[in-house]
């Protein structure tokens, strides 16, 4: 039995950024006609590695071989000419143009400089029929469904007859039905002799579709295994680095739980006018972390925005301590919000640390006297806060953009929790942070929970939610799929709910099946 031909070899790839090594001497290979999964948590280095392969980033060290020949991929153009194609996590489509226009972008035309619309359209329809990726070539992209947009991205690659497709988290925005369709298509493409690299952090998918799996963790290669003979928990361990009975944070038991935030029949719409939340009922209790899990884009962001007053609901009521949210929304002593895009909503990067710490409270005593801000008092208080929350900064007068992401987030947390509000909402608070910063932040949230706050912790990282939540709910398509007890919930249960399956009451005693 011959060794299957090696299509791609990446050897010793290293890519460094100031302060972090994104890829540390990673080597792996891809065979012809295989689906090779690249598995790892957020920040493990998967995207970076593939961007190196696609010519968007230049590696500091390492070599790439294609069909045995050394190749220097200096730009996407080189990658495309070599037969490598990539479908990014955030689609690279021009929304205001038609599908056909998008395909023609950068495509070599039959008779340059004219656009060969007719010829391209013919080929487009041929490909649609052959692969079953039904897309109307003349429809503007913004009118296509997310699944269709992804098919369009794949069609773009097929036009260029790619040999190696890279898919970056393709199922992040797909429904289960669309996901199955995608896997079918991928199998078809393999049958034609192409190869696929499939980046994901979802264990279940890997089991279903991959032939071989390479696991990355913290920028390093953990190993490459065959799907046959590897269990889910083995993969999970490789991915997270600790036994998957996840390190639950120790915490004192809380028996005196009082309802603090009550949501009743909440409905709202997102920017596109589509329903984002469908009649949500939810109660948050004091001294408890409510973990909110779910694939990004299922309404979690809108939920946080409705609670914090940044979005107007179409129906329903939200009450904090009996008072409707509309009365209290500006009061930083009742609600603290740690937003997911701290650089956009949470902070003013050009302002100093002090100014950011008092972004909401500059108007209150003792900082404000007759319209004049008492910066000296503010500065002293800022120094205290920086010490309490362990923010690493030379002093409180430096501009915010000199701090690292983790420390920036700590400033946001400091500001929002300092007044000891009864409710704290954290929306993807650890996004973009390294593991150390993540851990610090988790500790901060726990501290708040222990002092009696009702904390909502929204995250797409399952491991986080499971480590922190006293209770765990899962949001899918604007609805809550179910609620689990944090101590006894299993990854599989939560994973099922994230895929859209409601929790069945009988399955809630799956103890120890982690």
């Amino acid at each position: 039995m011959n060794e299957p031909a090696l299509l791609l070899q990446m050897k010793g790839i290293t890519k460094k950024y100031p302060g972090v090594i994104a890829n540390d001497r990673i080597s792996f290979d891809v065979r012809s006609g295989e689906i090779h999964a690249l598995l790892g948590e957020n920040g493990a280095g998967k995207s970076t590695l593939m961007k190196v392969l696609y010519g968007l980033h230049h590696p500091d060290e390492g070599e790439i071989y294609l069909m045995g020949e050394r190749i220097h991929i200096s730009s996407p153009k080189v990658a495309v000419d070599a037969g490598i194609g990539m479908v990014h996590q955030h689609f690279m489509l021009v929304e205001n143009m038609t599908a056909l226009d998008n395909v023609m972008l950068g495509l070599h035309q039959a008779k340059p400089p004219r656009l060969d619309v007719k010829g391209t359209r013919e080929k487009f329809i041929q490909l649609v029929e052959k692969y079953g990726l039904v897309v109307d070539p003349d429809m503007p992209v913004w009118q296509l469904s997310v699944g269709q947009q992804q098919w369009l991205e794949i069609l773009k690659l097929l036009f260029r007859d790619v040999k190696l497709l890279i898919l970056d988290e393709p199922t992040a925005v797909l429904t289960p039905a669309e996901t199955h369709q995608l896997f079918k298509t991928l199998r078809f493409l393999i049958g034609e002799g192409r190869s696929i690299i499939f980046i994901t952090h979802k264990l279940e998918e890997v089991q279903e579709v991959a032939d071989r799996i390479t696991v990355l963790r913290d920028g390093k290669l953990v190993g490459t295994v065959d799907k046959e003979g590897t269990t889910l928990s083995q993969l999970a361990t490789m991915m997270i680095g600790r036994p998957v009975s996840l390190a639950r944070k120790p915490r004192p038991k809380n028996d005196e739980k009082k309802p603090v935030l009550v949501i009743d029949g909440l409905c709202c719409r997102n920017e596109r006018g589509l329903e984002a939340l469908k009649s949500i009922n939810l109660t948050m209790y004091s001294g408890e972390i409510l973990g909110v899990a779910g694939v990004d884009g299922n309404g979690q962001r809108e939920l946080a925005e409705c609670i914090t007053g940044l979005r107007r609901p179409t129906h329903g009521q939200i009450k904090i301590k009996g008072k409707s949210i509309t009365e209290v929304v500006d009061d930083p002593s009742l609600l603290g919000y740690i937003p997911e895009d701290r650089q956009k909503t949470g902070l003013v990067l050009d302002f100093t640390v002090t100014e950011n710490l008092f972004l909401r409270t500059y108007n209150d005593a003792p900082f404000d006297r007759w319209g004049i801000v008492q910066w000296d008092i503010a500065q002293t208080k800022a120094e205290e806060l920086v010490k309490t929350y362990d923010v690493r900064t030379p002093n409180v007068m430096v501009p915010m953009n000199t701090l690292s992401g983790g420390n920036q987030q700590k400033v946001v947390v400091a500001r929002e929790t300092n007044a000891q509000p009864p409710v704290i909402i954290g929306s993807q608070p650890t996004r973009g942070l390294d593991l150390g910063a993540m851990d610090s932040l988790h500790e901060l949230f726990l501290k708040e929970r222990n002092r009696g706050a009702a904390v909502m912790f929204i995250s797409t990282e399952l491991s986080e939610v499971m480590a922190l939540g006293d209770r765990i709910i899962v949001v899918f398509n604007g609805e809550i799929m179910g609620e689990l007890d944090g101590d006894s919930a299993s990854v599989l249960q939560v994973g099922e709910m994230m895929m859209g399956h409601r929790l069945q009451p009988s399955t809630s005693n799956e103890r120890g099946k982690k």
Binding site: K51, Y54, L56, S75, P76, K77, A79, V80, D81, M86, H88, M92, L93, V94, E95, N96, M97, D101, N102, M104, L105, G106, L107, Q109, P112, P113, R114, L115, K156
Partner: protein
């Protein structure tokens, strides 16, 4: 009533004549805007083109070389802007403002040399169309003009074809909508943007030449009188479509022409009101179009390749 006719004729003629610099400039500026860049320095491009055109016309007596001078200077000025905004990623407003200031300063500084030269500047040649110019209304409008009108019409048609029917045009339009998509398709966003800006400069220079060399033959301080900004506004009103834009320019040209004829009409209103007309029109046009225009999505955002 009979003597209204020649009045109307000359008015229409003037309308076309005053619109042509706007249209010519706009052809290039359209490309700039379509790739997502606001270049308020188009005013400076026009100004320096007007100056260089006159200078070239006086020195060489050859209209083609004069126009070439205008085009080259306009292009060079826009190259400065391109370097600052694309390569140095500077704020487009400030860079454009600086470029305008430079054009104003340089033209004023060099004006004495122009005035010292006593030769007459050669103008855009008038096209002799025989009987065509005797057709009522359309005759004087279209056929009793200099070559500039044909330039404007032909170039507008060519540019529309390039923008919508060629691969390059598609790429340029895409840059203004989603520059990352263009980069991942293997194209060079930087080259495309430079090209868009340079085209804006070249046509700005041409428009400037049309201002000073079409019927006039001299250069006056601050000759362009913010026409570059009117071009920018007209692009918005014309929804960045070449043909609509040309129509909008005709309206502005009409306002300009009207102002010249106000006193001839024996108007009761102060002449300053007519002078204000094009500018008031621009404001009304801008204010009246809220919610109906769709700017290219990446309007005024600098492109950062590292963020791909």
């Amino acid at each position: 009533m009979e003597d209204m006719f020649p009045q109307i004729n000359t008015f229409l003629q003037a309308t076309i004549r005053m619109s042509i610099p706007l249209i010519l400039t706009g052809i290039g500026t359209l490309y700039t805007e379509r790739c997502g860049i606001i270049n308020i320095g188009v005013e400076g491009n026009m100004l320096i083109g007007a100056f260089a055109g006159v200078a070239g016309a006086m020195v060489t007596g050859n209209i083609y070389i004069a126009v070439l001078c205008a085009i080259i200077t306009g292009g060079l000025l826009s190259l400065i802007f391109a370097f600052l905004t694309v390569s140095r990623r500077a704020d487009q407003m400030v860079a454009g403002f600086g470029v305008n200031l430079l054009a104003t300063g340089i033209t004023i500084t060099l004006m004495p040399y122009l005035n010292a030269n006593r030769t007459r500047a050669v103008l855009f040649p008038v096209v002799d169309t025989g009987f065509l110019k005797d057709i009522p209304i359309l005759g004087p409008l279209l056929f009793d003009q200099s070559i500039a009108i044909w330039l404007a019409i032909i170039l507008t048609l060519i540019s529309t074809w390039i923008l919508y029917k060629t691969s390059w045009g598609l790429s340029l339009r895409a840059v203004g909508e989603n520059s990352k998509a263009v980069a991942t398709a293997g194209l060079s966003v930087i080259k495309l943007r430079y090209a868009g800006i340079l085209l804006g400069g070249i046509f700005g220079g041409l428009g400037g030449a049309a201002l000073s060399l079409n019927n006039l033959g001299f250069f006056v301080q601050n000759m362009t009188q913010s026409r570059g900004f009117i071009v920018l506004a007209a692009l918005v009103v014309g929804k960045w479509n070449p043909v609509y834009f040309a129509v909008v320019c005709l309206f502005f040209g009409a306002a300009d022409a009207l102002q010249l004829r106000a006193q001839a009409f024996g108007s009761v209103l102060p002449y300053q009101l007519y002078l204000m007309l094009p500018y008031l029109l621009t404001i009304v046009a801008l204010a009246g179009l809220v919610g109906k225009t769709k700017a290219p999505k990446e309007y005024a955002k600098p492109y950062d390749p590292e963020q791909a």
